[in-house]
């Protein structure tokens, strides 16, 4: 068995997927170069107002209620990708028949998904979930399913052997709906005209024609059409392997300045992305947001003036025949052009699939790193990853939920700054600050704890700890026979007094082979300040000179 998913009025569907709020409004899509833009698609409400494909944009603008949107190849390609994702979530054998039509082989799906009507309903629901109003048809052969999907709205299931009966009511135009351009369109028009002259206006009439007579008049093409009309043509699908590219984009008519409306659009894009990823049973670990900023348009004009052809990635410029000044100017423009593209990448510690969490993370990131110019185009892509398999242990202590934790960490980063939050990683060095911060991951923390011998754990635990001053405090030290006897610290009054006890010096040095060489003598000492006694680490910098209090033993 085969199924077909067909999106009627694809250009309008793509626009509605990007702007669902236009669904109840009359909508027309125009295309072409100004001022010769023409309507290429209209929805039912627009038809009611008199709008029709072929009208000029100027004519359409006379109707104030009509919402006019330019045709967007970005939206159409992402809608087509969503359609493919929808089909591939049901069957691995999928044929990409047209941008609005996908055929899929349902052999063997019965045991997994149930009866044919159930499968058709599931496909329809999945497509609706992806923001697509689709016609779904299932039949014993792919062409019958395709004709039914193009001819009947909603869900159609044709039992085996009843194709001719079910398809009979469809008009003959259905047979030529994929002949849209060039010679194919002319041929289709000729055949349609011929059939119309014969009084053949639906598939039942075409199917009833005698084969020999039809072959004499229309040749093999006529016989092929008749087989189609009877639902008797059988063929194998040409399967495609859809690349795992998850990208959604939206081009804006008016630039966005504030982050709030941007968040609104981002939410929509993220929901679409997440729905697509979910349909392929995937998550993502990396989100890339690319914003095109508004001064790019001016640069393009300047490019035209300079007369240098430019590619979108800025790498394939042709420089032939240009003067040195023009080349220099172009180089400067290219630099500016790169600057007008603003990109942010969210690297997640674990695969996630939650549009709300992604939106919050992007909002926090954009709050911390604002784009700095009005936005004219938003592009969002997700790097697919296998969803994480979490097996909660019954006897493991609770740990933070990864999504919640990521949001919390992003918020705290917004408060204390980057590189100020995370887990500590010690470096293999004797350097006094030999550590670095790395991302705190709850999943790593969820590993089973290492069981220690209680006695040894206790022995390890009660260790005198050092509290560091960052940066170390400069100190004035009185020396006697090279030994510190008194210490004052101008920036911290508490750290001063007579040296009561001392141990040292301990000499450390390192990185002498690099620019940041260090060499120091360390003293541990007890200070008496009035009645109070405190313990400190005193450091003498042997390269730069000077004494510093590095920390307090507490």
């Amino acid at each position: 068995m085969f199924a077909c998913i067909y999106i009627p009025n694809f250009a309008v569907a793509a626009a509605l997927r990007a702007e669902p709020e236009l669904e109840d409004r009359p909508l027309a899509i125009f295309d072409g170069k100004p001022p010769l833009e023409k309507l290429i698609a209209v929805n039912e409400s627009a038809k009611g107002l008199g709008g029709a494909p072929g009208m000029t944009k100027a004519q359409a603008e006379l109707c104030s209620e009509l919402a006019l949107r330019p045709r967007s190849s970005l939206q159409e390609s992402s809608t087509h990708a969503a359609l493919l994702d929808c089909a591939q979530s049901f069957s691995p054998c999928v044929e990409d028949s047209a941008c609005d039509t996908i055929l899929l082989d349902l052999s063997g799906m019965g045991t997994l998904l149930g009866s044919l009507p159930k499968i058709s309903r599931a496909i329809f629901d999945r497509a609706t979930g992806l923001g697509l109003k689709a016609n779904v048809a299932a039949a014993a052969n792919p062409d019958a399913a395709l004709l039914a999907a193009r001819g009947f709205p909603g869900i159609t299931v044709i039992p085996a052997g009843k194709e001719a009966e079910q398809l009979g009511s469809l008009p003959t135009q259905v047979l030529f709906s994929d002949h849209r351009e060039g010679g194919e369109k002319e041929l289709a028009n000729t055949l349609l005209e011929t059939l119309d002259r014969w009084g053949i206006r639906n598939l039942r009439a075409l199917a009833a024609l005698p084969e020999v007579s039809l072959s004499e008049r229309l040749g093999q093409a006529g016989l092929g059409l008749q087989k189609l009309a009877r639902g008797a043509r059988s063929r194998t699908l040409v399967p495609v392997e859809a690349p795992l590219i998850f990208e959604e984009a939206i081009a804006l008519e008016h630039p966005i300045v504030l982050l709030e409306p941007l968040a609104f659009l981002l939410h929509r894009l993220l929901e679409q992305l997440c729905a697509r990823l979910a349909s392929r049973a995937l998550s993502t670990q990396e989100l890339r947001l690319t914003l095109e900023l508004s001064n790019l348009t001016g640069i393009e004009d300047e490019f035209d003036q300079v007369g240098i052809a430019s590619e979108s990635d800025g790498s394939n410029e042709t420089w032939g025949g240009q003067t040195a000044s023009a080349v220099r100017r172009s180089a400067a423009l290219l630099t500016r052009r790169r600057q007008t593209r603003f990109s942010r990448t969210l690297n997640l510690p674990l695969p996630m699939l939650d549009a709300k969490v992604f939106l919050k993370l992007l909002q926090l990131d954009l709050n911390a790193h604002p784009p700095g110019a009005p936005i004219v185009k938003i592009q969002l892509s997700a790097e697919p990853a296998r969803p994480r398999s979490a097996q909660g242990g019954l006897f493991l202590p609770p740990s933070p939920e990864p999504e919640k934790l990521e949001l919390t960490l992003a918020r705290i980063t917004g408060i204390v700054g980057e590189q100020q939050v995370g887990a500590v990683e010690l470096l293999d060095t004797h350097h006094p600050e030999g550590f670095r911060m790395r991302r705190f991951v709850a999943e790593v923390a969820r590993k089973a704890p290492v069981r220690k011998n209680p006695e040894s754990a206790e022995m390890n635990s009660v260790v005198t700890a050092l509290r560091r001053f960052r940066p170390p405090l400069r100190a004035n030290v009185t020396l006697k026979n090279g030994q510190p006897t008194r210490l004052t610290c101008p920036k911290k009054k508490e750290v001063q007094g007579v040296v009561l006890w001392k141990a040292g010096p301990w000499r450390f040095s390192g990185d002498w082979w690099e620019h940041d060489a260090w060499s120091r003598d360390e003293w541990d000492l007890a200070l008496r300040n009035g009645d109070a006694i405190s313990f400190h680490r005193l450091v003498h910098d042997r390269l730069g000179g000077g004494w510093f209090v590095e920390g307090t033993y507490d």
């Binding site: 911390a368 493991l396 609770p398 933070p400 939920e401 919390t408 705290i412 917004g414 408060i415 700054g417 980057e418 100020q420 939050v421 995370g422 887990a423 990683e425 010690l426 470096l427 350097h431 600050e433 550590f435 670095r436 705190f440 709850a442 790593v444 704890p449 290492v450 754990a457 206790e458 390890n460 635990s461 009660v462 260790v463 005198t464 700890a465 509290r467 560091r468 960052r470 170390p472 400069r474 006897t485 007579v498 009561l500 006890w501 141990a503 040292g504 940041d516 060489a517 260090w518 120091r520 109070a532 006694i533 405190s534 910098d541 390269l543 730069g544 000077g546 920390g551 307090t552 507490d554």
Partner: protein, 377 residues
Amino acid sequence: MSSAVISTSAALGRPFLFDVDAEPEAGLKAPGGTAPQACPERSRRGCPLEPSSPEHRRDLLSCTLNIPQSKLPPASIAPASRLEIRSTPEMISSGIPAIDILTGGLPRGCLTEICGPVSSGRTTVLLATLAAATGRGECCALIDASDALDPDSLAAAGVDLDRLLWVRCNEESPRRRRDPEKCAAPKNTAPAATPSGGKGGPEQSACDFDGKGWVKNESRRSERRLEQVLRATDLLLESGGFGLIILDLADVPPLAARRIPLTTWFRFRRAVEHKPTILLAIAQQPIAGSCSSLLLQLAVAKRRQNAARGAGRGSDLARQRTPEEGTMHCEGDCESIETAHMHLLSGLEMHVELIRSRLDRKPARCVTFETKTAWAG
């Protein structure tokens, strides 16, 4: 026979009605075991109300307070017997047996305060608690107001570094720090914050001390740090999933720490109340008031004498070393003793006093425990 006791809430200025029917033993009785007398007005009117009905209680209340019923607050009065009874919190080991014996451990779902002056062992207790919590497999968070944590000490105390989230508060807002020309480099890597030769020393970005002005500046910095601490704590408490959250305010001046409103501590207490989280605050002086369920006061014990004796015992070994390998000297009112470096901080006696505990009515007790240096082996 039913009776009622009237009490007044000091905080709200509203009367509370204690339901005696529900818990007879909680009600006040006359000295001879007799129940309080019935409301004379009600007896006079022959009130037909059921003794346990809300109307009866309002009637009783109006009689006792001599206030007309219309002036009594409406149904906002909740019988005390129906108030939620706080369950005894689960006590978790602090990682130091002496403290566990003293307090029974640290209570989950409560705020615990550890106070003490500089070098009194607050951070040592903190690290021991962290080591115990991470050893149990719990995730911990340390909100470090002064960015004073020493990772080497963490590792020496046996803390599982993968399970510890370290929030390093600082004096600058993130926006200001992002400007690379105006601000110092981030302190995530070691070379940026170390005293290395010929680079002007580590204090280049700090302001010079100029009397009164510097003090004002310090106050502002403390405020910024405290703001970051409180906001980060709020977020972590809301996030959940952490077994131990530590607010390290040990280097925050007591005056600045006391500026934290009491309502903030109440909020924290409420936020942590029904969670399996220990909220631990380290400060120089008690700051959370009655919000803390457990308050420990640390002090430097008279341990130098012991340490000195220990140092004397090790002097034979130390004398064989050259001065640059490490010697110990005593000056001032102490006799000069030479010993190994490890003896300076070994055998420090930390004195812990239990000031307040939710579980004990008169908890004043104390213990002493010893510490050792990380390099003592």
